[in-house]
Amino acid sequence: MINKLSIIASITLGVLAVTTSLQTHSAEVESLRGASELDRNSSAPEHKRYAKDGRPIARDYVQQPPLIPHKIDNYRINLKSNKCLSCHSWKNYREAGATKISQTHFEDRDKHVLANVSARRYFCTQCHVPQVNAPALVENEFEPITAISGE
């Protein structure tokens, strides 16, 4: 009997301890979007626009997928067509004046080179993203590799 009581007592104590610690924590933790009550809508952030087409953007580290220096609104990528490749494939890049996709885009995961763009490199926007002019959400001290950024 005494055993049972002590078990119940320690469980309640444990639960209490956890909830109080959670409560103190939740006051400290704040998401990047700012604090807002769960049952209330947070205010919508200002709509950001993608930059106009520009020159290629310098890369910051080796193996970085280059950022997209142009708009991509309404560019469809699906199994029937891929708008990006209509300018970036090896057949089309000259006419479009675009950079051709590099050799790595033809390799499967075992480094076998395929005759056409590889499935793991087909959905371009998995890795390549356009940019908006916005302040960094988190402060950081990242320094690009000078060997490739050229600075």
Binding site: N74, R76, K80, S81, A115
Partner: protein, 207 residues
């Protein structure tokens, strides 16, 4: 007095005399008048029919058009954009000048036939025939130098200073290379068909 007048009668008056004479039972004039009125009614009705069939509502009254191309088009710039100016189906698919318009309307009776046959009455059937249908549109636009696009867009009035880097470099050489809008702007209003046969390097899969 009567004879006096007929001697004075000039060409117009003589023509009038002729018209007053009964052809069989009715005077030629009356026949002409009736014909004239009928013509107005016919032409008016014809035009009204042309106008009625020249609206987006008409095009999407067929589910073949509504469930496929219309739904896709609603996601694109010609349906919704910054300024709220729209291009509707007939703007891109039906010529403005009447002689071209009539040719397009006669071709359109083919659509009625295929509606009745149910050629594209499911999404699967539509996708299977899509390459052919899109090909017809591309061919037509190539032949007319994308006339319908140019009804609204004109290179001459484009401010290249306002356009993107890629647009400027392509547009400024396009004319010399005998290119027309549809050569570079395929899929501007709808999803594309399977492009394998058009450009194997533009789609996934070995060939």
């Amino acid at each position: 007095m009567n004879s006096n007048k007929s001697t004075e009668c000039n060409i117009i008056c003589r023509l009038w005399e002729k018209l007053k004479k009964p052809s069989l039972r009715y005077s030629l004039g009356a026949l002409l008048a009736v014909g004239f009125v009928a013509g107005i009614i016919f032409w008016g009705g014809f035009n009204t029919a042309m106008e009625m069939t020249n609206t987006e509502e008409f095009c999407i009254s067929c589910h073949e058009m509504r469930d496929n191309v219309y739904e896709e088009y609603k996601q694109t710039i010609h349906y919704t954009n910054r300024t709220g100016v729209r291009a509707t189906c007939p703007d891109c698919h039906v010529p403005k000048e009447w002689q071209h318009k009539i040719v397009r309307k006669i071709k359109a009776s083919n659509e009625l036939l295929h509606k009745a046959l149910g050629t594209i009455d499911t999404r699967e059937k539509f996708e299977a025939k899509r390459l052919e249908l899109a090909g017809n549109v591309w061919k037509a636009m190539k032949k007319t130098d994308s006339r319908e696009c140019r009804n609204c867009h004109d290179f001459e009035f484009m401010d290249f200073g306002e356009q993107g880097r890629r647009a400027v470099s392509q547009h400024s050489t396009a004319l010399d290379e005998d290119k027309t809008c549809i050569d570079c702007h395929k899929g501007i209003a709808h999803e594309l068909p399977d492009m394998h046969s058009i450009d194997p390097t533009g789609v996934i899969g070995s060939n």
